[in-house]
């Protein structure tokens, strides 16, 4: 996989087809979710999850993303988004 310079791939997010990989920058430990082309290994896009960290996304199906996170009162919730 062709990850951006200074980035380290860590885990694969289960999907119905796309190749999604959680990655972190070596310098700042900033997390990100990257989609790669399965045929070439090229980076297709960096996924922005908006209100929650992209690395909290744990599943993708039919172009919907599912994230696990906590609200301000520390209650956990599952967020579905597209």
């Amino acid at each position: 996989l062709k990850v951006p310079a200074g980035t380290s791939a860590q885990t694969i997010v289960p999907t119905d087809g796309p190749w999604l990989v959680r990655a972190f920058t070596s310098a700042t430990d900033e997390g990100m979710l990257l989609e790669f082309d399965p045929n070439t290994g090229d980076l297709k896009r960096r996924i922005d999850a908006g209100a929650v960290p992209a690395t909290s996304i744990f599943y993708e199906n039919d172009n919907a993303f599912y994230a696990y996170w906590w609200d301000k009162t520390q209650h956990s919730f599952i967020l579905k988004g597209r």
Binding site: L1, V3, G6, T7, S8, A9, Q10, T11, I12, V13, P14, T15, D16, G17, P18, W19, L20, V21, S26, P38, N39, T40, G41
Partner: protein
């Protein structure tokens, strides 16, 4: 698993259990366990090696659970390699990564859910050999140089490789700044560019 809670650390008859991997199946879940015995614990305690025994890489199990999280069966593995990671495949099969000590290299194999070896996948040598794994290990070999320590280091490095799922394909990721991905569909194993 629907509505149940799997507790792989509480298998009756096994102590000092280490859960190497968990995976969902069509009708429940499956776990790959490494296990240390009371004898391991006593031996290591006498040697002053550790308060808690490390898992015995020769005592490995596949444990199947039903959809309620109840233990269905416990299968002791008898493989020619050390199993390290596991993923579920369609058709009640498992993909298992492991370290093949006699040939000093990583391998991928397909097992049935009772732990029977179905086949070792031939990937034309693209999986790492022992020297490559050792170079990526974080265990300091010079402190306790031994064959057992070396094998621990190789297996430890291989345990950083993780399975994932993309539709019908099972992926096997070597993490890091220069990551590689192997994709498995049926018995077709390919390394991504």
């Amino acid at each position: 698993v629907q509505g149940g809670r799997i507790d792989p650390s509480a298998v009756q008859g096994l102590t000092y259990v280490f859960v190497a991997d968990l995976a969902p199946t069509d009708d429940g879940g499956v776990a790959l366990l490494l296990h240390a015995t009371a004898t391991d614990a006593l031996t290591q305690a006498k040697a002053g090696v550790a308060d808690r025994p490390s898992a015995n890489l020769d005592n490995t199990y596949i444990v199947n659970y039903d959809k309620d999280g109840q233990l269905r069966d416990l299968n002791k593995l008898d493989l020619k390699f050390v199993p390290v990671r596991m993923a579920s495949l369609p058709g009640s099969q498992l993909a298992v990564s492991g370290f093949d000590s006699p040939h000093d290299r990583a391998i991928l194999a397909i097992l049935s859910t009772d732990g029977t070896l179905i086949r070792v996948l031939d990937d034309a040598g693209s999986l790492p050999e022992a020297d490559t794994l050792l170079s990526r290990s974080k265990i300091a070999l010079d402190q306790v140089p031994s064959d057992a320590r070396k094998r621990q280091a190789e297996v430890g490095a291989l345990s950083g490789f993780l399975f994932g799922y993309a539709g019908r394909k099972t992926l096997f990721l070597e993490p890091g700044a220069k990551p590689s991905v192997w994709s498995l569909e049926g018995t077709d194993l390919r390394k991504s560019s």
